[in-house]
Subunit: 543 residues, 2 copies
């Protein structure tokens, strides 16, 4: 939903930065944060205004038959020009956003999506599918000039849960449904998708599916992929509707081709997704480690056990300090268990014992709630506080990032995944090489922190935070340079260019090197077959 | 391994029927089995002989540079003419097998696979990739006459575990490795793949990956798909080698395109697969149900619980009787738990209690072994016996099927999957309509049994066994008619044409109806890009 078309009773979305306008740090907060990073500005850059962009009229006009679905309002167009990566925020702050789409369309059903695609194909108008707009990899903007006009296809007018199969724990849900609304609509049925990416408030089911989003679970079924029971995708070559099946072995999975297709093969309009009973039992704890290597071994042992923690996030010392989980130089492992069936404290106790056996300390059961809703606060030193500090920081982080961007700082994250044999060397190399590159470029030392967000029996997903001085007026180019250093390290360590943030346009160089060439041939051929005019999200995945 | 080229110290594989020659039922056993099915022959059809086929010389000759990889031995060629479906066995018994391949090639590395494909492409020789040859859906034969010659590409000379990453629990394994050899090579490392399809002895890793095989686990990660960490696939357009990653969100998964590609897009030559510690704790039990509907509800509750049984197979009354698990008209649920970490008897007890709460009876812990290897035989009525009777029958079943085929009976299985809302009606309709069709065609009542082999929170995989009189000399055509009736029922109930037996050529009609048309366009385009001369396993998946 664009910031310039506020809904009744709703807060206003920021057109240029993360989330809600009223949640942004104010100038004083920005200044205080900036003071923590050497080499940043003395006062914040002003909040950018749409009217300063001097947006020209649209290069194309929708036909009368589609006019009711389309707007050329400048504010709406500006809000759909980019996603919400650090480099997007900087470009907005610096008054040079990505290409402004000529039109924003809001279809309300499959037929309207098909009609819009048909018209766009005839006119060679580029179509950029848009869910919550929270892409952090350049997934929802247009780059280049191969198309005379660009239309942002905003799916949020398709935001309903259409059917619930309570017995089979599944629901048919429109792609434009935002996270909170999706859970609100499922709640009366006692069911939940439990897909809670950091972007939960500002991302949609369709966006999650199109980008293979990572969600709530730190182990097991970590990506939305496994929760897609069937999908409906409108392509220029027709509508693909897979059958609702719990599993199938009939040829390569049709859904798996569209999962991660990032709008390049079609527009996901709805899906049946697998749901769960709402958990009645929860327990969490934190375990501190003096040595990060011990913590890595503990996490690997947990990932290879039967325990299946829902949350199993390891913060390195810097990340623990930044989030307030620990300030003594410890790494902190945040563990959480949940179940709809039975109490989970025994599993938590076993997990904490396992972590202790690898050198963890001060592990304690810090919060457990049973069906009654009663909770026990059996907090060891720093326990409960560490978990909740981490949670609040997690949700607040993107707002703070934007505040730091206003101070001219570099404040961004990136994430990856690799097998266990690569993990220690990979993390060390990212810290060292990205840190050195930032120092060289800015003359100031940078902070490079790491956490593991998802863990597997065969590897883990490290997530890095970089805080550094910027380069006044040129912060996005500086970040691009630092990211290129990071991608080079990832490539050298056989680590994927993204574990759950999609390829978009920003990750194309790394993706193109990583992807097997025969698969690229197949993907290009599939794209040409489904999108013969090349109008769908040009530039993501393939050219 | 072809039956006509016995390896030292090995038993002889049957060229025409399942498994080992010495495990086939003899004439007396066949006659006794046949007597149980009205309308079958009085004495068994003779065991077919290769020399009676009058195999002509090959239509093509390999070039000198590849001659050492290729044989035109008639026995070897006959053994590679078909898979091991009932209809394949009947065609062999009746002296009219599928088209005999002109050559059988046994490459020993990727380069040799690529060289063979290059030559075949130049000469437009059809190439049928062949692992253990256990296809039951016409996956390893050639039909039609669009190609002047056919080469079976037998991968079993590539049968080694090449690397083991014990820390990350993964191994790099050549595609032609047969199940027992794969586990034998992993055992010294204390690791296991635990993929145990019914065909385990006679199928290969490459075959499992190419067909999205279903394995050991009845819940959770049921298919080989989830155990593929990376894959290497030789295509006519180059070799695809995906990175070893625990997870990735970078575009549609390359591996998921090749998983289930059935040799139509390339030849899988090796894969890194995810392994597990060998289980130290096991426990199993059986629970009987007077009413099948109660059993269905119990199984659904189990599938939706946290319990994750490794085995959770529900036999209907007929299947329970046939396998000796129960002879009193009860349905029988066979439950098994296993863990490398901790005792599983508590989980088994909870599962049995849950089953009892849905009307199960005589549930008992029937076998539990701890790390010591000690086992407790706490068998309730029929318990231990039911489990082991079912296990032996499971492995013996394909041999008995061939014995019944020699008696002119129809004896075949097929399987599917559907959401829970469809399951009761689907099973009833298959029983009724396939039974009626068999009666009408043969004048004799048929047996149509059902078991659930895999269960999910959102559905289940029913597996049907059909035993009926045949039609002397025409049993395969009769079976095709019955199968067409079955596929019609599946289609009407939104049930997949196969849950884990692949599409091959036999399932094409059902598959073509089920597959979304835009996905078919994409798949055809991918095929044309990777296999421009159309030589790879022509007729499977796409034309």
């Amino acid at each position: 939903m664009a910031g310039t078309t506020p809904q009744p009773h709703s807060r206003t979305r920021s057109w240029w930065g993360w989330g809600w306008e009223d949640a942004h740090p104010d100038d004083a907060e920005c200044t205080a944060m900036g003071a923590l990073i050497p080499g940043t500005l003395a006062r914040p850059l002003p909040v950018p205004r749409v009217r300063d962009l001097g947006i020209a009229g649209p290069a194309v006009e929708a036909p009368r038959s589609l006019a009711h679905l389309v707007t050329d309002d400048p504010g709406d167009r500006a809000a759909h020009a980019m996603g919400k990566a650090y480099r997007d925020v900087v470009r907005a702050l610096r008054g040079r956003p990505g290409r402004i789409p000529d039109l924003v369309a809001r279809p309300t059903d499959d037929r309207e999506v098909a009609d819009l695609l048909e018209w766009a194909g005839e006119r060679r108008v580029a179509v950029v599918p848009y869910g919550g707009g929270s892409s952090v990899s350049g997934g929802v903007e247009y780059r280049g000039d191969a198309h005379g006009a660009v239309m942002s296809l905003d799916l949020t007018a398709m935001g309903r849960v259409l059917e619930v199969d309570a017995e089979g724990r599944a629901a048919r849900i429109q792609a434009g449904t935002l996270g909170p609304s999706l859970e609100d609509q499922l709640r009366p049925h006692g069911l939940t998708l439990r897909h809670f990416p950091q972007s939960f408030e500002f991302s949609t089911l369709g966006g999650w599916l199109a980008t293979r989003a990572g969600g709530h679970y730190a182990t097991g079924r970590t990506h939305i992929d496994d929760f897609a029971q069937s999908m409906r995708v409108v392509t220029p070559a027709g509508t693909s509707s897979s059958w609702r099946l719990p599993a199938s072995g009939a040829g390569p999975s049709p859904d798996r081709l569209f999962l991660g297709s990032e709008g390049a093969l079609g527009v996901i309009t709805e899906a049946w997704v697998r749901l769960q009973a709402r958990p009645r039992h929860k327990a969490s704890a934190s375990v501190a480690f003096a040595r990060f290597d011990d913590a890595l071994r503990a996490v690997r042992a947990l990932a290879q056990s039967d325990l299946s923690p829902a949350n199993c996030r390891l913060l390195d010392a810097g990340e623990a300090a930044l989030s307030g989980a620990a300030r003594d130089g410890s790494a902190v492992l945040v563990l959480g268990f949940e179940s709809a069936d039975e109490p989970v404290t025994a599993r938590l106790d076993r997990a904490v014992a396992l972590a202790r056996s690898h050198g963890g300390r001060s592990g304690a059961t810090v919060g457990a709630s049973g069906a009654s809703g009663a909770s026990r606060a059996d907090a060891g030193p720093g326990g409960d506080a560490a978990v909740s500090a981490w949670r609040s920081a997690f949700l607040r982080m993107p707002y703070l990032r934007d505040g730091l961007a206003r101070m001219g700082a570099v404040a961004e994250t990136f994430e990856t995944a690799a097998t266990w044999d690569r993990i220690p060397g990979l993390i060390e190399a990212v810290r060292t090489e990205v840190g050195a590159a930032a120092l060289k470029a800015t003359g100031h030392p940078a902070t490079v922190n790491c956490r593991l967000t998802h863990v597997y029996p065969d590897g883990a997903a490290p997530y890095f935070t970089v805080l550094a001085a910027g380069r006044d007026g040129d912060e996005d180019a500086l970040w691009d340079d630092l990211k290129a250093v990071a991608v080079e390290v990832l490539h050298r360590h056989g680590a994927t260019v993204t574990h759950h943030h999609a390829v978009g346009r920003d990750h194309r160089p790394g993706y193109d090197r990583q992807r097997p060439e025969p698969f690229a041939l197949a993907l290009r051929a599939a794209k040409a077959a489904l999108d013969p005019h090349g109008i769908l999200n040009p530039g993501v995945l393939v050219d």
